[in-house]
């Protein structure tokens, strides 16, 4: 038998992907980690250990912004998780029902907000909710609820929740699509067997379909988590870089932007920005590991 040659083609097939991915994803992640342990003193990068993290968590000026952003971000995530995913599941459940007509049309309509850029979404909702232009007040007036209107995006107490709901509106298409696909993959025989046993409608959904789509619900939850904990765009386009009013809509992503890139009078601080990135990385890694090891590995999967 012929002696095995060096198989250069394997290396050639792998090289471009590995190079680009390592240079722009893995290497920068480590670079950021390294930068977070340094500080700039007299134009020189000096090793300071965990000082930047101490500053971020405990220094009066930094800690206030950081904990505020973390708290807001957590609230933003909870609203998304508790509204977007149930609504998405409900829409998918209705769409996948056999009695529904024009389901392709509805599916497309529900997905359109998801494909729009944050600039369009942010501006559209700012207009609708604007007290000056007044589409929202007029609409509320039509149903006799004018007294409920407030400049929701301009008030510290309501701005963050309003933004979270706008985000729900924008991204409900993703859970809808994934759940819809997994509902469609349930074989008819299973559902017919359930029907014969007298399970239809809601009880069929809860007892038969829901257990079968748990894995997909796990996936949409972790996607929501990762997406929300590095969100930035919607806040920036609607509330600007300062995440107003009075930082009430500041999330980790917008704080990171101001911290390392600078904004208006604030000068960018690369090392503090890196420290904040590392904290965000830790949060996301913790969430993903929790999902992979505590949830996904215990989930029962059914094979048909």
């Amino acid at each position: 038998m012929e002696k095995k040659k060096k198989r250069w083609h394997i290396a050639i097939f792998l090289a471009p992907a590995v190079l680009v991915y390592s240079a722009l994803m893995i290497f920068p992640l480590f670079g950021t980690l390294q930068l977070s342990l340094f500080d700039k003193v007299d134009q020189q990068q000096v090793f300071v250990g965990l000082d930047n993290f101490r500053t971020l968590f405990f220094n009066e000026r930094w800690a206030e912004s950081f904990w505020n952003a973390l708290k807001n971000n957590t609230w933003f995530f909870f609203i998304n998780m508790l509204v977007q995913n149930p609504v998405g599941i409900m829409l998918a459940a209705i769409l996948s029902s056999k009695v529904v007509r024009f389901s392709a049309f509805f599916r497309t309509a529900f997905f359109i907000p998801t494909i729009l850029s944050f600039v369009i979404v942010g501006f559209a909702w700012k207009l609708i909710l604007s007290p000056i232009w007044g589409i929202a007040p007029d609409l509320l007036d039509m149903v006799g609820l004018k007294s409920l209107f407030a400049p929701y995006l301009g008030l510290e107490s309501t701005a963050l929740t309003t933004l979270a709901l706008i985000s729900v509106w924008q991204f409900v298409g993703i859970p809808m699509m994934l759940i819809y696909a997994s509902l469609l993959s349930i074989p008819d025989e299973v559902l017919e067997a359930a029907e014969i046993d007298g399970l239809t409608g809601m009880s069929a959904f809860l007892k038969i379909k829901l257990p079968l789509i748990w894995p997909s619900i796990g996936i949409i939850s972790i996607l929501t988590f990762v997406g929300n904990f590095n969100s930035f765009d919607l806040i920036y386009t609607t509330q600007g870089g300062l995440a107003g009013p009075n930082y009430s809509t500041d999330v980790l992503g917008s704080l990171l932007y101001r911290t390392f890139f600078g904004f208006q009078t604030q000068i960018g601080d690369i090392n503090m920005g890196a420290a904040l990135s590392v904290v965000m990385f830790g949060i996301i890694l913790a969430g993903v590991s929790f999902y992979l090891f505590a949830i996904q590995s215990r989930m029962r999967r059914y094979q048909f």
Binding site: R7, M90, I94, E195, G253
Partner: protein, 279 residues
């Protein structure tokens, strides 16, 4: 078998929910497009009315074409998206082929290494990416964006494509080898055409986030000549904040390309999700 009767009330209720949600989903888009065809007065007095002979106007569109560098922004977005997708697909498919076709030392490890990036957002490395781009002189070029998007799209592409390539028949490749085809020919001529549907799925998953991204254009390419449509629209809104005709027309024009792309590719998107590409 006896069909279970469906309660007509349920059918009506289901359709009502769907119609109500359709209105909620499309209303903001409708408001923007509708008002982009109206005069300033029409926009403010009756934001929900259809344009009539006294309020119809396309002056906003005229302003956009005259003032804005919309065509340039559009071209930048198109270049960045298309070139990034090309590299994601080419490099991703090559790596996926290596991982699924050959047994070699470190195969599993390499697969895991490349999969790390599926769940980790590339934005977390932005601080260092900015430094790299400044050091290499790529700051404010479209290449910077293309490189970043290629890197961030590769992990999922490799993952999905290698799943599909495992299903390509080994007999076919062996027949090719007996005919004396090189490994490169086997990949490009035999395997690639067979995984075209999977490549379309990968393209659809990556296309919209790249087109709509604001973060990297803002940080890596905010110069006038490299603005993408998303960043350009954001700046445009700031400049023309009082000229609502122009802003609304500009946004309507930004909505159009993605909706067209989506309608073209939506079948592929559904097919991709149903085939289990994201499980």
């Amino acid at each position: 078998m006896n069909k279970v009767k469906h309660n007509p009330l349920n059918i009506i209720a289901a359709h009502s929910v769907l119609i109500i949600y359709t209105v909620i989903a499309l209303f903001p888009v409708f408001v923007i497009i509708l008002n982009s065809f109206k005069t300033r007065k029409g926009i403010f007095r009756h934001p929900l009315a259809f344009p009539d002979s006294s309020t119809f106007s396309v002056e906003g569109y005229a302003t956009v074409f005259k003032q804005g560098d919309y065509m340039l922004y559009f071209q930048n977005s198109l270049i960045v998206t298309v070139v990034s997708l090309f590299f994601i697909l080419l490099f991703g498919a090559m790596a996926a082929f290596a991982l699924s076709e050959y047994r070699f030392k470190g195969n599993t490890l390499m697969g895991l290494y490349l999969a790390l990036g599926i769940m980790i957002p590339i934005r977390l490395g932005t601080v260092a990416i900015l430094q790299i781009m400044v050091a290499s002189g790529l700051i404010n070029t479209l290449s910077a964006l293309i490189l970043v998007y290629t890197a961030s799209g590769l992990p999922l592409a490799v993952f999905i494509l290698s799943e599909f390539m495992r299903q390509v028949s080994a007999d076919l490749k062996d027949a090719g080898r007996i005919d004396g085809l090189s490994e490169y020919k086997i990949f490009f001529v035999l395997v690639l055409p067979l995984v075209r549907p999977a490549m379309a799925t990968v393209a659809v998953f990556n296309m919209i986030p790249i087109w709509n991204d604001l973060w990297f254009p803002l940080i890596l390419a905010n110069g006038e000549s490299t603005k993408t449509l998303t960043l350009g629209s954001q700046v445009f809104i700031g400049q023309f904040v009082t000229d609502w005709n122009a802003v609304l027309s500009g946004l309507s024009m930004a909505i159009l390309p993605v909706v067209i792309l989506y309608i073209i590719f939506s079948k592929q998107l559904i097919r991709g999700i149903t085939s289990g590409a994201v499980k």
